[in-house]
């Protein structure tokens, strides 16, 4: 099976083949012999070149979040025939500010039509007993305010749009 992978800003062409008692993974033309056994629903033990790696694997929409002993790496995958996974591009066009977690809108700091600078507070959401101020990531003008103070929001809910 051939895959295109994107991890930590690097792209890889990947091919996975079964071989006796394990796998051969070809990463950008370089073959790795990988012995992998599953050690739980979400864990696997890998031995690569004699080095032992216990990893946690968390399914994401377009790949996996891989937990290694000292770090966590997000790996986006797509079958090679479907084209490489999308690289996160530079933000352009209207910016939709969404709730990063479920919570309650305690204050709306920006009104429609206001010009904002990067770092300006836009909306304050309370979740897990903390107030979290969401700031403008770039310069622009508030085009739409989709919430009001006191409103409960789910993760991903649209809060406002900066054009």
């Amino acid at each position: 099976m051939r895959l295109d992978a994107l991890a930590e800003g690097q792209t890889f062409r990947v091919e996975v083949r079964r071989r006796d008692g394990g796998y051969t993974v070809i990463l950008d033309g370089e073959a790795l012999d990988v012995d992998l056994v599953e050690t739980g629903d979400h864990f696997a033990s890998l031995i690569v070149d004699g080095r032992s790696h216990e990893v946690g694997l968390e399914k994401r929409k377009d790949g996996y979040r891989v937990h290694l002993p000292d770090e966590t790496v997000t790996v986006a995958l797509a079958e090679a025939a479907r084209g490489a996974p999308r690289r996160p591009g530079r933000p352009t066009g209207p910016m939709r500010l969404t709730a990063p977690m479920p919570g309650r809108v305690v204050r709306v700091l920006a009104e429609k039509g206001r010009d904002v600078e990067p770092g300006d507070g836009l909306v304050v959401i309370e979740a897990m007993k903390m107030e979290n101020e969401l700031k403008a990531p770039r310069r622009g003008r508030v085009d739409e305010v989709a919430v009001r103070e006191g409103q409960a929001v789910e993760a991903g809910a649209l809060l406002l749009v900066v054009a």
Binding site: M1, A7, L27, V48, K59, R65, V73, M101
Partner: protein, 520 residues
């Protein structure tokens, strides 16, 4: 626990409890249940609708529902908690920390109904809970304090005048505050109005009291606190210091004991000051005096927390005293079974608070289901957790899921052990502060003990993560690709009747991923 001190002698006026109600949730409720179990005391849990399946409910001997998920209707609801205590036949109530632990009205209501509140007398909570009154008591007892308004000020113009008089930077603080809530650092007059508005709103939400006072901000301060214990028989002792300078948003994330900054002379001085205040106010039970210490090792008393602290385990590890059992014994009327001279700090202990927060996104809360959990073990490791694999961390409460504590003979041993333990700790499904701890534990300033309360902001201001090393990335890609390969084969086998769909594994994965996220 190393060399726990018990003598088991019971004074005539003391009585052993048979049953205690724990008016809390999460890891601290579990901690108190464990102490009760070891003392052969029945533990009664209370729970909100969101916590029916919580660990503390599962571990308790009895459990009583006290209302809907929002704290105000359950864990903060004095009447419902009291009803549960009376109905269960408990003789005493352990409040843990947060929630009702520093609520004098709750302590008084317990006293009125013949329940022993495991903590100080309600008058002491009132006195020390009013931060400006506490400062006055501290000054009377000879403790140095940070310059500031001794009274909360109601009107913004008066606050602005006081801020100008004290001189910026100033700290804006909630009179009823604690735990960093309702607290803001203000660098200039221009920032004051918005800081006041947010501090008042947070204070109103957290404590139902939006009175605010000001203090001069000490630049690059260390946050060091002294643990105390006092009984009904006039004995008051301190259990040395905890270093709590590693903070984010004014909330502690790593604590240790001893503090790398504190000299034997400073320790002796702070301990003596702490005991002086404890004796002056007739304190009872376990408590903590918080100090700011400036670059010249001058301590300034900040406030007293009249309850058990989150970070109490580091003191337990270096002194061998079980603070929860000590609280219970004091509440039973027993005298302390050890004196100041019996205590010493042995070795070094560190605590890392594992929060359900995303360190890559400014420590945003990250509630949700814990998909998989593996906890560290081995020599010198203690995991005081309130969660389990499959548990959904609710959005309604504090994001603390566990406290990872290690002990080692020296600070360097303890740091190495903590790095090892963090490496073993796996939490899948939600983001946690664990990756952040790996970075702090390797930071040269932390390793050297050269830390102050601005450390997290200063050292991790920019994109809060290191790029993973090349080899790690390759292992991660290989693991992910093999997993995808295996899932595809499994999906093919399942569908072998109707011709394997090339992308079945992918679609199956997508459905699964969306399912875990509650449908996108």
């Amino acid at each position: 626990m190393r060399g726990e001190r018990t003598r088991g002698e019971v004074r005539a006026e003391s009585r052993a409890f048979r049953k205690i109600l724990i008016a809390n949730r999460g890891e601290i409720a579990v901690r108190v249940i464990r102490a009760c179990r070891e003392m052969e005391i029945q533990a009664v849990a209370v729970y909100s609708e969101a916590d029916r399946g919580a660990l503390h409910v599962r571990l308790a001997d009895e459990a009583r529902a006290i209302g809907p998920a929002p704290s105000r209707e359950s864990y903060l609801h004095v009447e419902r908690v009291l009803e549960a205590a009376v109905a269960s036949g408990a003789e005493a109530v352990h409040p843990g920390y947060g929630f009702l632990s520093e609520n004098a009205a709750f302590a008084r209501a317990c006293e009125d109904r013949g329940l022993v509140f495991i903590g100080p007398r309600s008058e002491t909570i009132t006195l020390m809970g009013e931060k400006t009154a506490a400062r006055r008591e501290a000054v009377e007892a000879g403790l140095p304090v940070v310059p500031g308004t001794l009274e909360p000020l109601g009107d913004e113009a008066a606050l602005a005048r006081e801020a100008a008089r004290i001189g910026y930077p100033v700290m804006v603080k909630a009179a009823a505050g604690g735990g960093g809530k309702g607290m803001r650092l203000v660098g200039s007059a221009a920032e004051l109005p918005s800081a006041l508005a947010r501090a008042r709103s947070e204070a109103r939400g957290a404590f139902g009291d939006d009175r605010i006072y000001l203090e001069k901000a000490i630049v690059r301060p260390r946050h060091i606190e002294i643990q105390v214990l006092a009984d009904r028989h006039g004995n008051a002792i301190h259990l040395f210091e905890r270093e709590c300078s590693i903070q984010r948003r004014h909330q502690k994330v790593i604590e240790e004991s001893p503090s790398p900054l504190v000299t034997p002379e400073l320790r002796e001085r702070m301990g003596t000051l702490a005991v002086a205040l404890v004796k002056r106010v007739g304190y009872l039970g376990a408590g903590t005096l918080e100090f700011l210490v400036d670059g010249d090792r001058n301590p300034y008393f900040l406030e007293m927390n009249t309850r058990l602290q989150v970070e109490h385990p580091v003191t337990e590890e270096v002194t061998g005293v079980d603070l929860v059992k000590a609280q219970i014994r004091i509440a039973q009327g027993e005298a302390l079974s050890f004196g100041q001279r019996d205590l010493e700090q042995r070795g070094h202990a560190i605590e890392c608070r594992v929060y359900a927060e995303d360190p890559e996104a400014g420590f945003m809360p990250s509630p949700g289901r814990i998909l998989a959990l593996r906890t560290p073990n081995g020599p010198g490791v203690r995991d005081d957790s309130g969660v389990y694999e499959g548990w959904e961390v609710p959005v309604h409460y504090d994001p603390l899921i566990s406290k990872l504590v290690v002990w080692g003979p020296t600070r360097q041993d303890a740091i190495a052990r903590m790095r090892r333990a963090v490496t073993e700790y796996k939490v899948l499904g939600i983001q946690t502060t664990l990756p952040f701890f790996q970075r702090v534990l390797r930071h040269p300033s932390f390793v050297a003990g050269d830390i102050d309360t601005s450390f997290v902001d200063a050292a991790f201001a920019e994109a809060d993560r290191d790029r993973a090393r090349g080899e790690a990335v390759r292992v991660a890609v290989a693991a992910a690709a093999i997993r995808a390969f295996r899932e595809r084969r499994a999906a093919r086998l399942e569908r072998s009747g109707d011709g394997a769909d090339r992308s079945a594994w992918w679609d199956a994965g997508l459905r699964e991923a969306q399912g875990w996220r509650g449908g996108v």
